[in-house]
Amino acid sequence: MSRDLTTGLVCLAASLLLFVLTLDLPGPSLLVPIGPGFYPRIVLGITALLSALLVVQALLAGRRAPQRSEKSGPVPNYALVLWSFAVFGIYVALVPLLGFRVATALFVLALQWLLEPPRGMKAWGIAVAIALITSLATFHLFQDYLSVLLPRGRWTDF
């Protein structure tokens, strides 16, 4: 399945689903001649139409050049992207539990290790220092000078 076909089908399905949900919205009232569903239906209708157009274009292009490959060059490292998203997801989930400082230090260290594992004691020392400085400097800078209280952890109270 080509890239455009996948994109078109996903967007078509999502826009149609949301369009159906707008049908439950109340209609126009005495004060306002158009209801809250009027504009969303236009927008979702246009989105569905454009998605369908993309699907048709992808199908026609596929018929014209079925052998054509999408791109060349080095294979993207999707596993690393997936892991990076996962680490970020865990970080976001841990912030309210461990607090900004602990979660941030762990996240910065983990992502550095994931992207480029430190080699040797010196490299590990730098990685740990960056993690601690990022976490503590950000927390105190924002709390003490910019009036932003970053979250403390429910588990750690820190």
């Binding site: 890239r3 455009d4 996948t6 994109t7 996903v10 967007c11 826009s15 949301l18 949900l21 707008t22 919205l25 009232s29 306002v32 001649p33 158009i34 809250p36 009027f38 504009y39 969303p40 927008v43 979702l44 246009i46 989105t47 454009l50 157009l53 993309l54 274009q57 054509r68 999408e70 791109k71 993207p76 490292n77 690393l80 992207v81 990076s84 998203f85 970020f88 997801g89 970080y91 976001v92 912030v95 941030t104 996240f107 910065v108 992502l111 550095q112 994931l114 992207l115 480029e116 990685a127 960056i130 990022t134 950000t138 924002f142 910019l146 009036s147 932003v148 209280l149 970053l150 979250p151």
Partner: protein, 509 residues
Amino acid sequence: MYELLLQGLLNVLHWKYLVPLAAGTFVGIVGGALRGITNTMTVIMVLPFTFGLEPLQGLAAMIGVYVGGESGGLITSTLLGIPGKPSSIATMFDGFPMSQKGEPGRALWLGIWASFFGGLLGAIFLVGATGPLAAMALEFGPWEYFSLFVFALSMVAGLTGASITRGLLSGAIGLVVTVMGSDPVMGAPRLALGIRFLEGGIPFLPVLIGVFAFAQIMSDVEKTLRGQPDAAGAFAAPKIVVTHAKVIWEIVSRPFMLLWTSFVGVVIGVLPGIGSSAANVMAYDQAKKFSRHPERFGTGTPEGIIASEAANNSNVGGSLVTIMAFGIPGDAVTAVMLGALTIHGIQPGPLFISQQQTLSYGIFAAYILAHVLMIAMMFIGVRFFLRIVTIPKSMLFPVILVLCVVGAYALDNTMANVYVLALFGVIGYLMVKGGLPLAPLILGVVLGDQIEINLVRAIMTESNPILFLTRPISGGLILASVASVVFALWQHRRHERRTSATREEDADF
């Protein structure tokens, strides 16, 4: 007007504004010099620091980043042949060959001084055009506003990416994001999907931060081979010797080219959605077309450096005009600025320059002074900025993502915004992989509410929809929207015919 500008300059010279402006300019130059860090990402990193500041302090910092970023990229482009960001690519075409011929100082300072002069020409346009354009927009009713926003969206959809359908679809997805939550007229909840947080609508800054930061970072991560050190490596910093008067004369002795390429930059800045990378390349192309010796381009000719750098700095002036006069962000950086203003309860648009005179003339002044600061910092710190490129991305990316989280959280001290950031980070990356350009999405998210409010206002005033076409300005703008789509279609067809081989389009972050 000039008294107000002078007052603005004196105001911004106060340390209260000068410090954030200088800090922003410094961070901008550093961000510009770093590979893979675009101006948008630098301004996103600076955003949380501006929340606790006064509006003008915050905006001064962001303008500093914007101006510094446009100039920072040329250091590595000219001296190392590594463009710090897309808007320095054309600078490299002649800057690096000139450096290799043994004139690194001349190459670098031609770029820096051209940025300065281009920026000042952009400032003349900014100061001169914002007021009259805003006054024109004051005459607009809801029909004209609706049509203007639709025009902006159709322009962006047509100008970004390689397919008009994908561009329009991306803009439509942006509009879908804004219909989730309460409707702007009666406040009735809609499409909240049972999630309480969504009932209040999706705030656009976490969307913008998530989409741009993750799309850029993950696109870089996917090219990373784990275990192989970042290719920044060590290098020998060249000796920079230059006679400034000679370099300045080289630039001002080509007044037509300087004016024309700065004009190209301004026009591209005014058009929403296409940023300084397009200005940089288009100005280079224009300079080559007008040159008596086009064959010298690419071999280290000064015209190539002057044209590309003058254009990407004047481009900033153009982008600031559209946001200040119409409330339409010219690019992602000005979209972040718009977000920063709305946090302080200020809505940019036609009334902005008359109701917020101190702020608007402060913006003009900050833009002019940022260029002076940029020159001063380049004098002092070029060698330091060169060292910056050795910082590996594995150290930079986690820090950037932490600042993104802080930026989203600090909007209203809630984790819900951080979840929106994470969700749109995934969506943004998937959109890039799905071939959908990001600029129309962001413009859709920024303008969605305004499009709906003006549509409803127009219909409540007069239910006849034909007024959108028969009112002269509104009709003209609708016609221009259709023309821009038709033009984009024609252009894409022509491009397809010319290039038989497919190539993946560059996402302009």
